[in-house]
Amino acid sequence: MPSYAILLGRQRHVFEDLKAVMAAASPEKSGDRLAGIAADTNERRVAARYLLADIPLRTFLDEPLIPYEVDEVTRLIVDSHDTAAFSPVAHMTVGQFRDWLLSYECTTAQLSALAPGLTPEMVAAVSKIMRNHDLIVVAAKTSVVTGFRTTIGLKGRLSSRLQPNHPTDDPEGVAGSTLDGLTYGVGDAVIGINPAGDNLDACIRLMELFDRLRQRFDIPMQSCVLTHVTTSIKAVEAGAPLDLVFQSIAGTEAANRGFGVDLKVLEEGREAALSLKRGTVGDNVMYLETGQGSALSADAHHGVDEQTVEVRAYAVARHLKPLIVNTVVGFIGPEYLYDAKQIIRAGLEDHFCGKVLGVPMGVDVCYTNHAEADQDDMDNLMFLLASAGVNFLIAVPGADDVMLNYQSLSYHDIVSLRHSFGRPPAPEFEAWLYRMGLFDDEGRLAPQASSVARRLIDYRPDVRALA
């Protein structure tokens, strides 16, 4: 492999190979420093960006950062590359590609047609020389629309995941958080719970809890129990009312093995959910989560920077035609994303890269108590992502996840963004909110003490009837 070098003033900067250029060009991330691959000076970081700007996009087809022979994600990327779709930008360097993305000629339709022609490495590379501004305005031009019982990702809409986690999966406790969220009009992307354990029967009970609620109020919604894909397959075999199959995924074969999955089992999970034919407006049946740093934490990053590995996970996601994908951006902790600056940058990168690759991208705007971040920082990120046209955001009661012990957005935040940006929820769900009287003529929320809200809140799940 060729080395890369550039002379800046009297200082010559030499990089061993393409992945060293990529790592050094990345905005500061504690995870890249932990891996020993970050630029050691500010000048060296910019030197790598100058080099990266002049590298032809084609180079990423000829020089895989992780060898084809050792990694099935690389094989997926190479084997599924659409040369015809790539042709409009095939002659460009990374820098020219960045300028083109921002140009008036680059439209929503062109970006959609281009997506199958782009590889994760190309998109990661261009993101590294884009400022936050660029990541926002280009992402806002993309459109990735998916459907199951609601349609997600339409222009001018903002969807949300309602996350009613409970430390013991107590059905009444889960119901309390769920009903609270529905009165805010949250949950049109999914009502998705992280179960306390991977026990099959417990997961099926939760699926039934949500399915009864859906049928009782005739809600156009999908639910998901975020258990391992193999548990979801067993649930389908057991006849459970499963809407979406969930799985955490990463950008290398070895990191996916750390999650206990490979492409084959992910495909089996998708087939299992498809076999139930439960979707009404679409057949996107998967919910996937990702996050920068997961491959490094599994020691499965092959010396590639954490952002590039993250974008490779979107090739896995794209292959599975998911309904929704989100980066859990601030969850992993300060050893990978140290502070709010790094979390905000990563959130914008992940959203941009996912959308440009054709992935229905959402974000869990979140942080842990040992990261240098607080609610003001999350306010910043959520407004930036709403400007960027994010497909959906995650919300929990009062921004406090009492089961996973981290902080996400609150139900209130979703309502506030909708009003600030004039972006209502998915059309099917919005129509239901009007039908229920939860939205008034101007799309404003009914108070929780009102009779229309009490109709929902006073719903009692028949706990004994749950299998």
Binding site: R33, D170, Y338, H370, D374, Q375, G398, N405, V415
Partner: protein, 249 residues
Amino acid sequence: MSTPVDLDPFARFRAVTRARIGLGRAGDSLPIRAVLDFQLAHARARDAVHGHVDFAAMAARIGEKQPVICLKSCAADRSIYLARPDLGRRVDPMALAGIETGDFDVAFVIADGLSAAAVEAHAEIVLSACLRRLGDVKVAPIVLGEQARVAFGDEVGEALGARLVVVLIGERPGLSVPDSLGAYLTFDPKVGRRDSERNCLSNIHADGLPHELAADKIVWLIRQALRLGLTGVDLKEEMGGPAALPADL
């Protein structure tokens, strides 16, 4: 102005969940009381993470009854500790060189981890309760580890020549509990031990596992580990459910 309980639409859920439901609204936003309650919880969690354990005072108190060794990890301060977990797992080499190897069954390490508040509130009480129950077991000098993670105990235990190391450490604070202590047991401690080779008791705090019961469980695990010659997934804690290992310590 207080809201009568029977006007709270979520009254029936309050006993079964700590989730912040039914908070009400100010326009689209949270009412000020809910905003400040959240900020207080977050402030306590942050203070716990960035707090400083007074190890000198702790060493003086423990030293009245048994020998104590104060050590630091390779993480020079809290910000390095948070960004570089690898450094918090290793003992400062200068200090390590001064440790004398002996013939010990068990070594106890008190490590600040991610909650100074947890260590200040619970570590010495749990340690004394364990020592009272360990009559015939040969216990090494008590080690206090500053800017230390769980695996810090591996290198300490190896240097001391202990068959087993028990690390009492502050767990990552949540909004509801800023001072939760964890206990990690590792048989045949040495650098490179994997998390699957440890046993863990977590949630030792006022609303969680009480001190005396925690000591019962820890000592039960110590005796089993010494008898069977192992810790980890093959040693089930049968006095109560074993907890999963949090990956961030």
